[in-house]
Symmetry: C2
Subunit: 253 residues, 2 copies
Amino acid sequence: MGPVRAPATRRERQREATYDEIVTVSAQLLAEGADLSLRAVAGRMGMTAPALYRYVANYQQLVDLVAFELDKAATAEWAAAAERFPEDDPAARLTVACVRFRNWALTKPREFALVFANPIAEADTQRRELLTVSTSGHYFTDLLWQIWEQRRFPFPALDELVPVIRDAVLDPLIPAKAEHIPTEDRGLLWIYMRSWSALYGVVTLESTGHCDPRVIESGQLFRATLLDWLGPLGLDEDRERLTVILDEELAAR
Amino acid sequence: MGPVRAPATRRERQREATYDEIVTVSAQLLAEGADLSLRAVAGRMGMTAPALYRYVANYQQLVDLVAFELDKAATAEWAAAAERFPEDDPAARLTVACVRFRNWALTKPREFALVFANPIAEADTQRRELLTVSTSGHYFTDLLWQIWEQRRFPFPALDELVPVIRDAVLDPLIPAKAEHIPTEDRGLLWIYMRSWSALYGVVTLESTGHCDPRVIESGQLFRATLLDWLGPLGLDEDRERLTVILDEELAAR
DNA sequence: CAGTTTCGTTAACACCATTCACGGTAAACG
DNA sequence: CGTTTACCGTGAATGGTGTTAACGAAACTG
């Protein structure tokens, strides 16, 4: 990377450091099971709450800031774990990443809720944009892209899509690296959305605890959901191999 | 129903009435976009906040109480809408109910979050039990049961299930009418769980706004998810008919 | 009627986000 | 170098939250 964003002036550097400390302290509070509050964060930084208003406009913006960084940090973890498989095996990497994502959601439900269950009003363009740059979103969709390059699984053609969806895949508002995808292949984004919906669904259900704890503990619901997606992603031949990986990762919890 | 629970004593009747008012006022506040708070509820009832502690032990219990009643009321709405199809057509009824469920989640995201995104800790047996009596859960699973009686779609046999899941379907902790299901057919509950997971997933994703607003507006993601379940529920022959119903209900929004 | 339970009050505590007026200090400028 | 300016923090205050405790009145119970 290099010193791309090392602002010359001392003031800017200090400011940047303060932002970092805000995030660090917030993550720490969350990890301790405490509530995220301006007062608590400021207090632990040796400041008073109003001082934080020099850095964030309001409480929600603090939450968004922390959410973004938590997502980034968590994604880095999953990605690192996935790297036990080579770059040319995106299917294995995706399997690992999905399980790690779930484990993270189960062990840190509060953090998960902050990042993924945080309601976003339709009108709020500010926060919608934040959503678009979600690190985890880009990571998952990139892996899907790599799998597609290898397996060329089917996806809807543009003229098969309802006009609204066509617009949505041509000019996406979701976190996905899409510029590199040729226009005529943008139907692929529909697969992104549908698979993300499925993954998000089980993980949220389990993380919020809205089902039998024994089912969560066993991981079977999650497992079945993932296995259902092997076919659509052209991974039928890898079923056995990937199932082994999946079960390994689930057992590691 | 009849005066099944009409407590003789005047006091008990008054107390019951107060509970009802608490719920009514709470729902009213939520509907107005205000926050649900003990003070606000009490204030609108012409009381002070501490008085509410004669009725609920703490704030979370107020939330749970309101959540339960909101769920009950909403379910009654969906059920009423579904009754435009006869009792012997549970597939059509389920289709209508699912769409109504989604519409409710989209138009009342705050209420939805209260009932379905409200995190439940694994240890909290109190709130877990509440979950088990969820009205909507019973309604949906009952419709699934009726469909199964007609179509006899396949479900896993008990010995095909992992032991933990077998335990879970034999002594379910989820909201499902199960007593009437013979032991050897309890594998059906696995279908309950999986389909509920899928429905819960898209609806939560859409209700919390964690995807492209245009996709939500179009209803295509939800539509596709539902259509995927026709096969597993033995409804392939009804595909065309049910799709029409589905699109009708979606358009009615 | 006397005794007890129930239901509400007021006061208080400990939090919370947020705004405002103020001061000190460090950077930026002439 | 000195002066100005912009930034970063403070303390005080406002109005909100859940929650506990001590108390009084009204309603039921014997």
